[in-house]
Subunit: 542 residues, 2 copies
């Protein structure tokens, strides 16, 4: 017997309708590629999103057809989020930091029919457009006065001309909430990129999950700055969750240096910001070097990579900004966990609190998780047992676009490729990537733990730990280190530094290799495969 409740699908178009109706006067502020600051409201955003939908109708795009973007965080990108998905097409956010060959491969794999790009990416588009056969319409995100002449891109039109030709009246279609809404490719370190194809249902449920007080805690009273790019898993869903709660949005455009981000935070009275550790490091350096302070910023969610303890301490203790350390994946829309304290932590000392906050936190409602041993056996939540993290839930992929890479699920669970512990309070701690964990004498050594300790040494600028084949122990850890400019350190000093750091003796690296750089992928992740290749002839030492 079914309940007798209304059959209203969860649709992305309802988010922009809701924002327009209930918070239509609330501001959206963007630093533009053009260099200036643009201001308007949710109501104007909604009107222009409907023009986008009409423009797509005029291009004869079918439901499900892909519209790609190569764009920074800004109001036009936001209009595309709603105009494309709301009208039943699929928004495909491309990562402009990838190699042009890879961008072209992805455009072709996705069969993108329209591609909208910020002028910053004109050279990239010029490099790939002749290889993108499926793209029928190239749109430059600018007005006609800035449209490049002789760009070589056929029939290039400015976004402003493109949408101005169409009315702002449009009735959003209603359809099954499982309809595809958006597409984001993961940039794996091996093989071709794979596309996560989100649905309207998954997007709205993810927004519901993420605005909760213990997760992002978003309210109509917030001014939210997503520094995390809108081409990076939909800026962690903020374009949607912001519409759900009707907060002010502040977009940084291409200016992600510390000074620009800080000044935007102050001038727009930002209360909540979201970013990755590397960008926040630039922000903190700027703030600290100038003896500035945050006058309105209250909370920041940090994810994409583990938040270094020193960064956590700087935000929490020097700047009185609550850090929400998060963990997620492109395949998870992306939020899996966020670290917020429980009532029972109230009595902890400042240092004890920080140790909890260093963990990746608790699952958002909607994400189920478990950790399993090599043989698939579920491991206890004791804060010590480390196993591969498996997840399931309505905003987690069950397959990749065009089934690239085969069925990813194991008994209905998505294997994250992360190794983690979970404690009795449900706090997750990522200890490694499963492919990076070092297996020594039948035990696991966390490469991340080693790297975090190395990074705490004042002379170390960057550190990467990998396993080196060993005749007796299978693998032994060796740490590759980039020395900070002007600093100096010896192998002996560094190996001594690992003592008294809560490591067992057998977990301490056998050797240090000094390198001038550690290979990084397009999203800033260390390419340990390449490092392993470099160090494959390293002699074992113990």
């Amino acid at each position: 017997m079914n309940g007798l409740m209304q059959d209203r699908p969860l649709l992305i178009s309802q988010l922009i309708d809701f924002a327009e109706r209930h918070n239509g006067g609330t501001e959206i502020v963007s630093r533009r590629v053009e260099g200036d600051i643009h201001r308007y409201t949710w109501a104007e955003c909604a009107q222009r999103a409907r023009r986008v939908a009409n423009a797509l109708d005029a291009e004869s795009l079918e439901s499900g057809d892909r519209v790609a973007t190569l764009a920074w965080n800004g109001y036009r990108h936001l209009e595309l989020y709603y105009g494309v998905s709301g009208s039943g097409r699929v928004l495909h956010t491309l990562n402009p930091r990838l190699h042009p060959d890879e961008v072209a491969w992805i455009v072709n794999h996705a069969d993108d029919r329209v591609l909208c790009f910020d002028l910053s990416f004109l050279p990239l588009v010029q490099a790939i457009h002749s290889r993108c056969d499926t793209v029928e319409r190239w749109v430059a995100l600018c007005d006609s006065s800035r449209l490049p002449v002789d760009s070589g891109i056929p029939d290039l039109i400015s976004y402003e001309d493109w949408i101005a030709a169409h009315p702002s009246r449009y009735v959003w279609p209603s359809f099954d909430e499982n309809t595809a809404s958006s597409l984001c490719y993961t940039s794996g370190t091996t093989g071709h990129p794979k596309g996560a194809l989100y649905s309207h249902r998954s997007t709205v449920l993810h927004a519901y999950g993420s605005v909760q007080p213990d997760i992002m805690g978003l309210s109509a009273r917030d001014a939210v700055l997503p520094v995390v790019p809108m081409f990076h898993v939909n800026a962690w869903g903020i374009p949607y969750s912001a519409a759900m709660v009707g907060c002010k949005l502040v977009f940084p455009g291409p200016a992600l240096d510390g000074k620009s981000v800080y000044e935007l935070m102050e001038s727009e009275q930002v209360t909540f910001a979201a970013g990755v550790p590397t960008v926040w490091q630039m922000l903190l350096s700027h703030v600290q070097s100038g003896a500035h302070s945050f006058s309105t910023l209250k909370r920041t969610v940090i994810g994409g990579a583990a938040c270094p303890p020193a960064m956590l301490r700087a935000f929490e203790q020097q700047h009185d900004v609550r850090v929400l350390h998060g963990w997620g994946m492109t395949e998870m829309s992306p939020i899996g966990t966020v670290c917020s304290l429980k009532k029972r932590h109230d009595g902890l000392s400042a240092d004890e609190r920080l140790r909890v906050l260093e963990k990746q936190g608790r699952a958002v409602y909607g994400v189920e998780m478990k950790i399993v041993a090599d043989d698939g056996r579920e491991l206890p939540w004791d804060g010590r047992s480390a196993g591969e993290l498996m997840v399931r839930g309505p905003w987690i992929v069950r397959d990749y676009f065009k089934s690239e890479g085969g069925d990813p699920l194991v008994d209905g669970w998505f294997p994250t490729g992360d190794v983690a512990t979970i404690d009795a309070d449900g706090y997750l701690q990522i200890t490694d990537r499963s492919k990076d964990v070092i297996k020594s004498g039948g035990e696991w050594i966390s490469s991340i733990e080693i790297e975090n300790i190395a990074m705490a040494h004042p002379a170390v600028g960057m550190a990467a730990c990998i396993g080196i084949k060993h005749p007796k122990w299978d693998e032994r850890p060796v740490v590759a280190v980039v020395v900070r400019p002007g600093a100096q350190v010896t192998t002996t000093e560094l190996l001594d530094f690992f003592r008294d750091k809560q490591l067992a003796k057998w977990q301490i690296p056998d050797d240090v290799v000094f390198v001038d750089t550690i290979p990084l992928g397009a999203t800033g992740k260390m390419l340990k495969t390449r490092l392993r290749e470099q160090l494959k002839d390293h002699p074992w030492t113990t």
Copy 2:
């Protein structure tokens, strides 16, 4: 084209699983009918809910079969919430304040197969059991030592014996999220009660909506006291939203007097409480008469009836407790709107803030609303135009159980029967019930506005305004007043009191009728139909 996200249904069983896994050690504290305080945890609640599911299997209850409760807010009731719905049956919460004949009628209409009751309601059960043919199993919510002997109720069993016979191991079934989960009858002022049949989907979505920062703002750090009964629209969904966020729950049992509620708040460090104005009046009277203060209470959601401005002021200004004035209906699961301030209200004076907070607030995401004129034309959101409020959304009914009363929807919208204004910021203000609004000379007069003014007079204990037939103006307002014990007031004084109160002259009542009591329904709502009958021969005066 569909997205490629996991097909995980939204189920109530996941809520209790999540609470057990992530917040298993968090407390649930209940003042029992037995008089003592009972404490246990979400983990123990989950285990016992699974025993309930096994007990229902043993009774051979089919999926969709109804299990009724006549119970106060307490841990056993909570276990039934999860054990019954989680296993695919329908939890039917009966309102014990109804007349026994009406309770019996509802039990029969719902075809309840099991009925679980607190011992407080033994006399009620004794009065009706012989008329409840569909009920095969009567369960007293106590242990065997307290099971009444010679109760006259066939095969009466104690709840503790009933569930102790079954294991705490149970695998919750998976099924379509639209499956019915729970049933609650509205006690209309006319006609038979009608059942709202909620689904798993509507219940989980409602929980997602209600925990948002601008709605209830619930967190794992809260200790939540639902004084609103679990037989009154599922205590506004708190049994579900509390599991979603993993907060501490505090149940008051039958002791709803001001002293008991206050002492429980203090001893259990309650941070958030939910109740109706009449119960909060008792609480405030106790607190004020004893010069007590709230040491941990931070927020209270007040609904079920309009929150009197004096109550709002007392909580906000004297006790520094944020009032979340809400509006909802049984047909809406129940939350429609909650009043929380926007950023732009920061500059308001204390009095101006209170005037915003007196409104019923902004729609929770998931509820769409509009106001329409008599001819169905949509009215503007200008804070002045009053029309019938229509709502739609996934936790709003599309029909009543067994289609009682015919199709309630109008073009897909549920007519609330309330008359309201909505301002440009989306703040709803209920001005009347549509059947109570007074139509005078083609204009509408809000009976509630008149009553609120009358109630502000120190001599007035209760006031009800109705329209009296008038040969020229169609209807004219007359206010029935109960004078406070020991106070005195004249008609002239009271009519004068209406001047300078932001009423147009034609909105001021024509007359005052002093009565010793105003007829109330079972849920405390004024029965204006009966009052109209009493006053139908009242002479028109102007």
